[in-house]
Subunit: 125 residues, 2 copies
Amino acid sequence: MTSPSAIQDSYPYQNEPIWSRSEKTIARKAFDAALGRELHEVIQETQKMASQIQHSSDLWDLEHYLTQRRKEIDSKYDYRYSRLTHVFGKLLYQNRLGEEDLRGLREDKLNSIRSVAQFLAKYAA
Amino acid sequence: MTSPSAIQDSYPYQNEPIWSRSEKTIARKAFDAALGRELHEVIQETQKMASQIQHSSDLWDLEHYLTQRRKEIDSKYDYRYSRLTHVFGKLLYQNRLGEEDLRGLREDKLNSIRSVAQFLAKYAA
């Protein structure tokens, strides 16, 4: 006999929030804007570090900085709908986007995103 | 019975050239000067690439360039006396130093260095 919970387990993603077409548009815009701002920061910092290079150690410091930032950005900006709540929560916590960027998302999603941000703030404290 | 060649094999480094004190001074100076010039080129190229960054792909191209150059320089500039003939031969082949930088080394060393440079030139052709 198949219990309701067994059926539920066979659809692992059914509890994930569904993103409507208009929410997907808002999410994509907020995501791209935050990523664009972060990349702009990396470009500015890279140009600053490059202009101040005097010794070979400064070269390898710049290489290390770029490697770290690339890995961090690759890991943080994960545009899968199953991950977006977490992604936006982290960006909110890091002040890389504001609630105004997410206006138009359903309240349950906004609450989940705020929860992630609050958890990360507590965890860091 | 131990043959002369077996004795020779038990001292793997005995055929390596001995570097006199004055040759070591010349070698160190030539080595450091070539390394300094190469690092200076990398610094200039890095600053040029950084100043032209427009897209994120330019950032990761710069990171890749730095990683490649660091590995290449680490591998090429190997200041062990057992490796110096090869190191100088390669630098001579790449026009990163001239014979004038090596003036004062014994003729047998100069010949070995020229041989390495000629071998690399033939190999590349």
